[in-house]
C-alpha cells in the first residue's frame, strides 16, 4: 500500500479524536492515563458535547489534563473535584460535568467529597483511575495499595497492622442510593479499552439523563511507580490488582 492509499479517507481505520490537542503528553510510556484521555475526547466528540462539557481536573499526574482535551476545565484542589463538580452541575444542570481523579485524590484526601457527592446523587460522572500508588509525588502508598505491595512509604510492602487495609471505595460507592451506575474497567488491551469506552459513554449519558452519579473505575498501571516495564506492569495488574479489584459492573440501574 502506498502512502497516498494509506491516507485515503476510504482506507482510514483510525483517526485521532479532534478534541485531543496536538500536545505531547507528559505521562510516562506505558501509563494508562493517555488511553483514558483519548477515550474521553472521542466520546465527547461522538456525543457532540464539546460546547456543553465542563471537566474537573484533579491533583495528581493528571493535574494537567486540561492541556490535552479541548473543552472548558476547572482544576480542583486535591480531593475536592466532586465538590467543584457539584457547584458547576447544580448551577448548569444541562451541562455534562465529569471529574477525573486518582486513588489518592478520590479515596484518601477526597473521600468525604466523593461519598457525599455520590450519596446526593449529583448528576455527574466520576472517572476514577486506580493504580494503587501516588504517581506524581514519586510512588508513595495510596489507600488502594495492595497488601504486601511495595511503595516508597511502605518499602517492605504494605503491612495491615501498620498501614491498614486497602480501600475498595468503588464497592462502597455502589452501595449508596445516589449512584446509578458503578463499574470497574481497565485499558490494558484492546478489548478492555473498548469496554471502558462503552462504560464512560454510558456514564455520560446517565449524567445527561439525570439518573444520578455514575462512577467508572479504571484499574490502571503506574509502571514508573511500580518500577516495572509497561508490559510487566500489565501482567502484574492482571494477576494482583484484578484479584482485589475485579472488573465488571458493580451497579447498573
Amino acid at each position: 500500500m502506498t502512502t497516498a492509499e494509506i491516507i485515503n479517507p476510504a482506507n482510514l481505520v483510525y483517526v485521532k479524536p479532534k478534541l485531543l490537542n496536538d500536545k505531547p503528553m507528559h505521562y510516562c510510556p506505558g501509563c494508562s492515563h493517555g488511553v483514558v484521555h483519548k477515550l474521553i475526547a472521542e466520546i465527547i466528540e461522538e456525543m457532540d458535547m464539546q460546547e456543553k462539557t465542563i471537566g474537573i481536573a484533579p491533583v495528581g499526574c493528571s493535574v494537567f489534563m486540561y492541556k490535552y482535551i479541548d473543552i472548558d476545565w476547572q482544576q480542583a484542589a486535591h480531593g475536592r473535584a466532586p465538590a467543584l463538580a457539584t457547584g458547576v452541575k447544580r448551577l448548569l444542570p444541562d451541562r455534562l460535568v465529569f471529574t477525573y481523579q486518582g486513588d489518592g485524590d478520590l479515596a484518601a484526601i477526597g473521600t468525604a467529597e466523593t461519598i457525599h457527592a455520590c450519596n446526593r446523587g449529583e448528576n455527574i460522572t466520576i472517572i476514577f483511575i486506580n493504580n494503587g500508588i501516588y504517581g506524581m509525588t514519586g510512588g508513595q502508598m495510596a489507600p488502594t495499595t495492595l497488601n504486601k505491595m511495595k511503595s516508597s512509604t511502605c518499602p517492605t510492602g504494605r503491612n495491615v497492622e501498620l498501614n491498614g487495609n486497602p480501600l475498595d471505595i468503588t464497592k462502597l460507592l455502589a452501595q449508596l442510593d445516589g449512584t446509578c451506575y458503578v463499574t470497574r474497567q481497565s485499558v490494558h488491551n484492546i478489548g478492555n479499552t473498548r469496554k471502558t469506552k462503552k462504560a464512560i459513554q454510558k456514564a455520560f449519558e446517565n449524567s445527561m439523563a439525570g439518573k444520578g452519579t455514575s462512577v467508572v473505575e479504571v484499574v490502571s498501571t503506574c509502571n514508573s511507580g511500580w518500577k516495572m516495564t509497561p508490559e510487566a506492569s500489565n501482567d502484574w495488574m492482571v494477576e494482583n490488582m484484578f484479584a482485589k479489584y475485579p472488573l465488571g459492573d458493580l451497579k447498573n440501574e
Binding site: Q50, E51, K52, T53, I54, I56, A57, V63, F64, Y66, D70, I71, D72, W73, Q74, Q75, A76, A77, R80, A83, L84, A85, T86, G87, V88, R90, L91, L92, R95, A112, E113, H116
Partner: protein
C-alpha cells in the same frame, strides 16, 4: 429582622445564583432563612447544604468558575476549614462572597461573639500571597448592604470578598431596608461580563481553564505580580470608613463592627465629661483606612484601638500612626463584649492621663 436573616434576603434579592453552606452557630439562620424562602422557586437560586465547610467553599469555587454569583457562610472554626479553598479562589481570581459571623476562639471556643479572626481575614488565612477584600458591618442594615456591595466588589475585581461580622451583628434584630430585586444574570450576560467563565467551549474561542498551577517559577511570579497590582488598585479605590466626632478630637478610638457601636457610646460619655474623643470605624478592614489614620495622627494626642480580641487591628493602626503619637489597646476575649464604661475607663487610664 436578625442580621443573619438580612444576609439571606439580600442574597436572593441581589440575584445570587447559588449558596453552599454547612451549619454552625452563630450564623445558621442564613441557610435556614434561605431554605424557608425557597428561592429556587422564585429567582432560581440554588441553596445546598454541603457535608463540610471544605466542601461548601469548593462548591463555591465550581460555581464561581462558571461566572455565577455564588456564596457561602460560616463562623470562625468553619472558616478555618475553608482556608485552602479561599487561597485557590483568590489565585484563580474567581468572584464570590464569603460570610464569617465570628465567634470566640481559638479551638472550638465559644458560640459568643468575637473579632479574633481579624488576622486570618486581612493578612491572608490560607497559604500564599493573597488578600481578601474584607467588609465589616456594624448593623443589620449593613449586613444587607454589604451582601450587595460584596458581590459588586467581587465581580469588579474578580476576587473573593469576605463579609466579616460577629455574633452580635448576626443575632441582633434591627429594622432594615432590603435591597430591590435584581434578576439573576442570563448566560449571555455572564459570557459578556466574565469571558473566562467555564460554561462550555463554543467553536469560536479557546478553552476556558480555571487553574492555579504554574510549575515554572517565572510564570507563578507573573501570576503573583498580577494579583498584587490588583490589590494596589483595591487599596487606591475601595477604602471605606466612618468618622464620629473626629473633627476636633484630641483622642480617637479605632474600632469596627460591634466594638464600634460600644465605642460610639463611650465617645458620647467622654464628650459629656469634657474629653474631646472621636471614633474612626473602618468599614473595609482590607483595604484599611491607613491614610485617614495618618491624617488624624497629625492632629490628635493619641489613639485607643478597641477590639473583641487580644489586639489584632491595633497592629495596622500602629503601622499607620508610625510612632507619631501613642496607640494603646483595650480588648476583651473569648466571647465577651466590652461595655462603654470599660472603654471610657481604658481611654482615661491608657491615653488621656
Amino acid at each position: 429582622m436578625k442580621g443573619n436573616e438580612a444576609i439571606a434576603h439580600a442574597a436572593v434579592r441581589c440575584g445570587c445564583d447559588g449558596y453552599f453552606g454547612y451549619p454552625i452557630t452563630p450564623q445558621s439562620e442564613i441557610m435556614e432563612t434561605l431554605m424557608e424562602l425557597e428561592p429556587w422557586n422564585t429567582t432560581g437560586m440554588v441553596v445546598l447544604q454541603a457535608e463540610s465547610e471544605t466542601s461548601s467553599i469548593n462548591m463555591v469555587y465550581g460555581a464561581a468558575g462558571c461566572g455565577k454569583k455564588s456564596m457561602t457562610s460560616s463562623s470562625s472554626p468553619g472558616v478555618s476549614l475553608m482556608q485552602e479553598g479561599i487561597s485557590y479562589i483568590a489565585c484563580g481570581e474567581l468572584p464570590c462572597l464569603i460570610v464569617n459571623v465570628m465567634r470566640g476562639g481559638p479551638g472550638l471556643g465559644t458560640i459568643q461573639p468575637s473579632q479574633a479572626d481579624y488576622f486570618q481575614s486581612v493578612k491572608g488565612g490560607g497559604h500564599g500571597d493573597y488578600k481578601l477584600i474584607t467588609l465589616a458591618p456594624a448593623s443589620v442594615q449593613e449586613m444587607a448592604d454589604h451582601t450587595v456591595l460584596g458581590f459588586d466588589l467581587a465581580f469588579k475585581y474578580n476576587t473573593p470578598v469576605l463579609l466579616l461580622a460577629d455574633g452580635v451583628i448576626g443575632q441582633m434584630m434591627e429594622k432594615v431596608v432590603l435591597p430591590p430585586f435584581q434578576p439573576r444574570w442570563t448566560e449571555e450576560e455572564i459570557r459578556a461580563k466574565s469571558p473566562w467563565a467555564t460554561l462550555g467551549k463554543p467553536d469560536n474561542r479557546k478553552p476556558n481553564v480555571i487553574t492555579t498551577l504554574a510549575l515554572e517559577a517565572e510564570e507563578m511570579e507573573t501570576i503573583n505580580l498580577r494579583l498584587q497590582s490588583k490589590y494596589r488598585e483595591v487599596e487606591k479605590n475601595e477604602v471605606l470608613f466612618e468618622e464620629f466626632s473626629c473633627e476636633d478630637a484630641d483622642y480617637v478610638i479605632v474600632a469596627f463592627g460591634t466594638s464600634a457601636r460600644v465605642c460610639q457610646k463611650a465617645v458620647e460619655m467622654a464628650r459629656a465629661e469634657g474629653i474631646k474623643a472621636g471614633l474612626l470605624r473602618p468599614i473595609t478592614l482590607y483595604p484599611f483606612p491607613t491614610i485617614e489614620i495618618e491624617k488624624l495622627a497629625e492632629k490628635v494626642k493619641g489613639f485607643l484601638t478597641v477590639e473583641m480580641s487580644a489586639g489584632q487591628m491595633v497592629e495596622d493602626v500602629r503601622l499607620a500612626v508610625n510612632g507619631r503619637v501613642p496607640v494603646e489597646f483595650y480588648g476583651r476575649m473569648g466571647g465577651i463584649v466590652p461595655s462603654p464604661d470599660e472603654v471610657l475607663s481604658a481611654l482615661k487610664t491608657k491615653i488621656v492621663n
